[in-house]
């Protein structure tokens, strides 16, 4: 239990790497930077593996949480704050530097360190010729530190530290090319939009503290499960909604998703690690972590499900027509995150978590693949200028093909299992109350398959559309870049098998592993008459009906349909190929191509960068209004007051000059002058004079003592 007992060291490991980079990085050579930064992540990964192994022998499959509190880092001391619990009982406000390990955090721990390690290795190749190499790796290690803090936190405040920290790292990495205006403004955008969500998070956490008197997950869960609160408790509902606002910000859900596409300004490994695989799933993690609260707030659950489903289809629709390869993937990520929230919202926590797990692999794979393409194309990101890369970069091609199959939900790749589990749960939950959302999800699946295969065809298969200059420069990639791709492809292929559904004769081991975390909530939902939700494994053991097989076949069909349409449309895309949507529905195309004008709307309504006629709304509008108020009302008031003051001070000055200065100060000064002449004799300015006075004093003392 050595590593388990010292699990608090786990986040420190990458922090050491970051510290080394920030303090000494500038002076280190590439090989040293690689050794340190990859080294700490390797250590962290091994540490995480051993810790999880030790944890599983600790818990014996009971899901009992391991909690390690190191010290209290934020606290009110003995001062107590009123809490609503127990009729206003007083609680101390304490947040520990505490660490919690349960199956949920184990899952995150493993894939964050694992995928993180692969992406770090990939980055050594991808970033090899970039300036600020040490800075990049310092930020990456810093991100790993905060992400691990977030995952391992045992209370909301500690989690918030990690939450803000990953936001900071994300900001730094999006703005990595800070000399590019678009990059720095994208970083600002990400930061500001995230802040909106963070306000929700903090308010939610504080509401929970006010209501339940603790920040600790274990305390909160125990209270929530104690049955003292009825389902639909309004305060808990409010807290859950506020937390979900935080999750929306971090995980890019409607309406706060706008920062994620712009975040693609950062280096591609960053997009892969932070904006696809790990950080954006923090919202999912937080909601899953707070499941005890959420099941007591059915309204919030519904909101989560609906927002998730809408985000999924909305983002997918925009991905259909994007030409920038990374943007396609970015919208795809938003869409997949929507899927995850859909799962959480319908109570299928395990399925949602499983989708996070599989998505981490194939989305990281796709992003790294796109990075490889961009590298091979010397920085070109527009798919209209690609095509026919299949034979130039074969490894990238087949690994990305695996990733595409996985995300499109083709059997037996990872995406199939997780996506199918979500859709199946959506179909069955609450006796079919959410079936409308199933249709949304199904449509999204179809669209996903289409845009992913569109991406594949436009880059790898169709005719060569790039300029001859670039075509000659297309080159193969180093081992450090292809090796992570291959490993991730194998994971994308195999990860799904961890949760081979029982309906297909599997054992759903992943669900069984995570299940204890959500077990109690399943009971709650059961009591509320909403059986049919929750724990996929359990349920599937009971119902393996024909509907499930049907749904599987349907979703396979959806994938195949998307593939087919893309195949038809882009198989031979030449220089002047036509988008099928643009041909059939030009207006819709315009709408999608401009991303539903959401950014513009936000500019009109919230930021005020665009004016509605003469009126500026949003932040700038408020600023203008405040400015007007300031100049017209406040300033003029101040000017009036100033005039009065000046008049008074003129009077005062006269008094000061003639009465205070003249009579009081100078008068007294002249009075002291004669005394000063006497006193000055003792301060003659000659050293020997002082010595003489000393001797005089000596004589005086002597006389006193001799003739006393």
């Amino acid at each position: 239990m050595l590593f388990l007992n010292h699990v608090y060291l786990l986040p420190i490991v990458p922090a050491v790497g970051a510290a080394v980079m920030f303090f000494f990085g500038r002076r280190l050579r590439k090989i040293a930077i690689d050794t340190v930064c990859i080294g700490v992540i390797v250590v962290a990964f091994l540490f995480a593996c051993v810790t999880v192994a030790e944890y599983s022998s600790f818990a014996h499959g009971t899901g009992q949480a391991f909690e390690k509190i190191v010290y209290t880092w934020l606290g009110s001391g003995d001062a107590q704050l009123a809490s609503a619990m127990n009729g206003g009982a007083h609680q101390t406000f304490n947040a520990d530097a505490g660490f919690l390990l349960d199956p949920l955090s184990c899952v995150w721990l493993l894939f964050v360190t694992g995928v993180g390690l692969l992406i770090h290795i990939y980055s050594t190749g991808y970033m090899a010729h970039e300036g600020g190499y040490y800075r990049f790796f310092g930020y990456m290690n810093l991100f790993m530190f905060f992400m691990l803090t977030l995952i391992l936190a045992n209370n909301y405040m500690m989690m918030f530290v990690g939450w803000e920290g990953v936001g900071l790292s994300s900001y730094l990495l999006i703005g990595f090319y800070f000399h590019r205006h678009s990059a720095s403004s994208a970083a600002n955008k990400a930061f500001i939009v995230n802040r909106i969500g963070d306000v929700g998070f903090v308010l939610g956490a504080l509401t929970l503290f006010y209501y339940l008197g603790s920040f600790r997950f274990t305390d909160i869960n125990a209270l929530a499960r104690s049955g003292r609160f009825s389902i639909g408790d309004p305060v808990l509902s409010a807290a859950a909604l506020l937390l979900f606002v935080g999750a929306c910000g971090k995980s890019a859900q409607l309406p706060l998703y706008v920062w994620l596409p712009d975040a693609m300004e950062g280096p591609t490994p960053v997009s892969a690690l932070i904006h696809a695989a790990t950080m954006v799933t923090a919202g999912v993690y937080m909601v899953a972590r707070s499941n005890a609260i959420f099941v007591l707030a059915p309204g919030a659950m519904k909101t989560v499900a609906i927002v998730g489903a809408l985000t999924a289809i909305f983002a997918a629709s925009m991905a259909l027509v994007q030409n920038d390869i990374k943007r396609v993937l970015a919208y795809s990520t938003i869409s997949q995150l929507g899927y995850m929230f859909l799962a959480l919202g319908v109570g299928a926590f395990a399925a949602g978590v499983f989708h996070v797990f599989t998505h981490a692999f194939f989305k990281a794979l796709l992003f790294l693949g796109s990075g490889s393409i961009i590298q091979a194309m010397s920085g070109e990101q527009d798919m209209r200028n690609m095509g026919g890369l299949k034979d130039k970069i074969p490894t990238t091609h087949w690994t990305m093909f695996v990733g595409t199959l996985a995300i499109a939900g083709i059997f037996p790749f990872a995406g199939f299992f997780s996506k199918d589990a979500i859709l199946w749960q959506t179909w069955t939950s609450e006796g079919g109350a959410y079936r409308i959302l199933w249709f949304v999800g199904y449509a999204t699946a179809m669209m996903t398959a289409f845009y992913m295969f569109r991406l594949m065809y436009l880059t790898f298969y169709s005719r060569v559309r790039m300029s001859p200059a670039i075509r000659d420069k297309v080159h193969g990639l180093s081992k450090s870049m292809t090796a992570p791709l291959v490993i991730l492809a194998l994971c994308s292929l195999g990860a799904g098998w961890l949760s081979w559904p029982q309906s297909l004769g599997g054992s759903a081991r992943f669900e069984h592993f995570v299940e204890p975390v959500f077990a109690h909530e399943a009971v709650v939902l059961e009591h509320a008459g909403k059986s049919g939700q929750v724990s996929a494994g359990e349920k599937e053991a009971q119902h393996t009906d024909k509907a499930e097989y049907l749904l599987m076949i349907l979703s396979l069909a959806a994938g195949a349909a998307g593939w087919g349409v893309a195949h038809n449309a882009y198989r031979n895309a030449g220089k002047d190929y036509a988008e099928p949507i643009a041909q059939k529905l030009p207006r819709l195309y315009g709408l999608l191509y401009n991303k539903w004008f959401v950014d513009e709307t936000y500019d009109y309504v919230f930021t005020g960068r665009r004016k509605l006629g003469n009126v500026t709304l949003g932040a700038l509008g408020v600023g203008e209004a405040a400015s007007w108020f300031d100049t017209k009302i406040v300033d003029s008031a101040i000017n009036d007051v100033g005039w009065v003051t000046r008049a008074a001070s003129t009077l005062s000055a006269w008094f000061d000059r003639w009465i205070v200065d003249g009579l009081a100060v100078r008068g007294i000064a002249y009075l002291t002058l004669p005394f000063a002449y006497v006193a000055r004799l003792f301060e003659w300015g000659l050293v020997q004079w002082y010595a003489l006075i000393m001797v005089a004093g000596l004589i005086g003392f002597g006389v006193y003592y001799v003739w006393k």
């Binding site: 000055r680 003659w684 300015g685 000659l686 050293v687 020997q688 010595a691 003489l692 001797v695």
Partner: protein, 102 residues
């Protein structure tokens, strides 16, 4: 001949002390003034050692050792000041050190 008593030493010490005081009060050269201070300290040392003999213990001698250490420190610091001063004003005459004079 009168046997030498403590008083003899005290008178010698008093003479040295007064000569040192005269030096401090009358000479213009800062170096000589510092030397006169050494004279004064020596007079004090002589007193202490004489008393040490008179009382038959060694505390006076220990004190005189401390005073010797103090004199060495004083000489080092004093001469340091003197050199710094000489570098600025090209003189070591004490009555030309008058920046603080009104």
């Amino acid at each position: 001949m009168v046997p030498i008593s403590t008083l003899h030493y005290l008178i010698v010490a008093a003479a040295l002390f007064v000569l040192g005081v005269v030096g401090v009060l009358t000479r213009r050269n800062l170096v000589v003034i510092l030397m006169s201070i050494e004279l004064i300290l020596n007079a004090v040392n002589l007193n202490l050692v004489a008393f040490s003999r008179m009382w038959g213990n060694l505390h006076g001698q220990v004190f005189s050792i401390f005073i010797t250490a103090d004199a060495a420190a004083e000489a080092a610091a004093g001469l340091g000041i003197l050199i710094a001063f000489f570098r600025n004003k090209e003189t070591v005459n004490v009555d030309e050190i008058d920046l603080l004079k009104w």
